[in-house]
Amino acid sequence: MISFASEYALEHAPALIIVVPLLLAVVAALCPARMGYMLALVASAISALLACLQMQVMAGLPTDYRVSYHLGGWTPPWGIEFAVDSTAALVVLVIAVMGFIATISSKQLFLREVDGSNYNRVYGAWLLAFAGLLGLVMTADAFNLFVFFEISSLASVTLVAMGSGVDKRALVAAFNYLLIGAIGAIFYVIGAGFCYAMTGTLNMLDLGVRLPQVASQVPVYIGFGFMVTGVMVKAAVFPMHFWLAPSYGYAPMAVTVLLASVATKAALYVLIRIFMTIFGGIDVLPQLILQWALIPLALMAMLLGTILAIYERDVKVMLAQSSVAQIGYIVLGFGVGTLAGLQAGFIHIVNHAMIKGGMFIGLGGLVLAMAGQTRPSPTRIDRLAGLGWRMPITASAFLICGLSLIGVPLTAGFISKFYLVSAVISAGYWQIAALVLLSSALSVIYLWRLVEVMWFAPPEKNKGARLPESPLIYLPLWALALANLWFGIDAGLVVDLSYRAAAALMGAG
């Protein structure tokens, strides 16, 4: 019976990973408020578990193996197809597991910021965003992707707007996020329309086969431009990153955790999917754009994000700016376009999810304990003075994630950087490697300011008793911190999976 159930679950995993949170989102919205958290926990746990199982199966199969799931039994290219190859499996795993961890910590984080009577609806939106992002990765249909794009965007906007309980500026941030997200989605859909007009199909693999046949036609390139621009908005790739800082900054802390660790990752995956799978068959164009457009944008993002973070006094916004820079690293890896470059990009997708997820959970824990005492702007950097001693459990794990962010050896961040730099150098761009290292050296400045404030503040600011620390925050946080250490020392797993992901993409392209 059990084996039957597990076989069934595995066979339908591509659908179930999304359907479970999607259905429970509706259930959560209709249930009493106190049920919301439990339902979200259950849904994300099931998704994470299924993603793990799926990854385990995929890891035993050849790199180019591709699980195809036909929704409603309609065969592609007519029906909507969910496809899981090594690439998608990796990103789904990251999103599902990080989503689960974010969900665990969300209860405590929401406590101060969102009215308790709304929890059912909040978690409804939470699960919708989660399912939407998973769908974004899993779908193999270009139009279906737009739908998931919008599901996740609208749910995220709702969640960002929940920050209005603390600061009403969250509403404006949410409204702008809605506009820019909708415009991005429409851009994408225009592009998909052009491709459809040229080929008569919307299935990604099918598009990948048919587009090269019409590669001489101008509309193909117009479609490409629209699609890439639209997804770049969602992925917050420079110069379309401007929505990110205010949205992350004003959203409730729990929402920032979710968005920072998974939202941009899914969009980045879609971006590289467009390059390698949909347009991968056309030789000239994607390579050209990758190198001449993506690399400069990635470099701008890296440097600008880091510099803005250095001048930012609000820790939450500072970390958001640093995300812009970190997205730059990932895009740079993709932009190099070699196998090693893609691999480096995927390694950083995994590692950055762990790093930023951990940092925002940690920051949430710290700010939560100070809330009430420090309104307004509890995330101003000077409010954290001496917290290293007053909240040692949370703060030390926060520090580990922070060290990983700047790429100290023995942390996951170092592995990312090592692979990125060697990929960039072996592709012949040693000047760019220098810029990568410059940006990461600069990131020491803003991170170290935090360390100075939290641990080495002048003694008169160090006074104060130990503050209570919640296990619902420090347990997931420590799980991420230990993962950062583990994957910094024994990085084999991440490196292998990322290699498979990159190889699968190259093979498809």
Binding site: F143, F146, V147, E150, L154, V157, T158, A161, S164, D167, K168, R169, L171, V172, A174, F175, L178, L179, A182, I183, A185, I186, V189, I190, G193, Y196, A197, L202, P376, S377, R380
Partner: protein, 128 residues
């Protein structure tokens, strides 16, 4: 040039509407007008898709029993897609309007410049 205009007139209308919509989203100070612009922008894309599906001489894609000769149908798929997109569009508009309501309640205005100056005030107060 003129024959392109005539044979592709539907695309020109789409582009025209799209630009108007985008222009309103960017230039208008009023949040509701921004939403109107967004809707226009979206609708132009709907038109784009639907006009793609039209095959000249084709009829509505409904299978009529006992048809003798093969019938030329228009492509139904874009209609299905746009049905979905319309639902998405409605949801976006609804959420946008809900946010505008809340903004109106909190900021006492839906004009962007008023909201900006209020934001600036909040910032100044928090720095004190």
């Amino acid at each position: 040039m003129l024959d392109v205009l005539i044979t592709h007139w539907n695309y020109f209308i789409v582009v025209f509407l799209m630009m108007i919509g985008l222009f309103i989203v960017i230039s208008s100070m009023n949040l509701v007008k921004k939403l109107v612009g967004l809707n226009l922008f979206q609708t132009s894309v709907f038109l784009f898709y639907i006009s793609l599906g039209k095959i000249s001489g084709g009829t509505a894609p409904i299978i009529v029993a006992k048809a003798d000769a093969p019938i030329l149908y228009s492509n139904p798929l874009p209609h299905v897609l746009i049905l979905t997109a319309i639902v998405v569009g409605v949801a976006t508009t609804a959420l946008g309007l809900a946010l505008v309501l809340r903004i109106k309640a909190s900021f006492d205005s839906i004009e962007e410049d008023a909201i900006l100056s209020e934001k600036r005030n909040i910032r100044r107060r928090s720095l004190l």
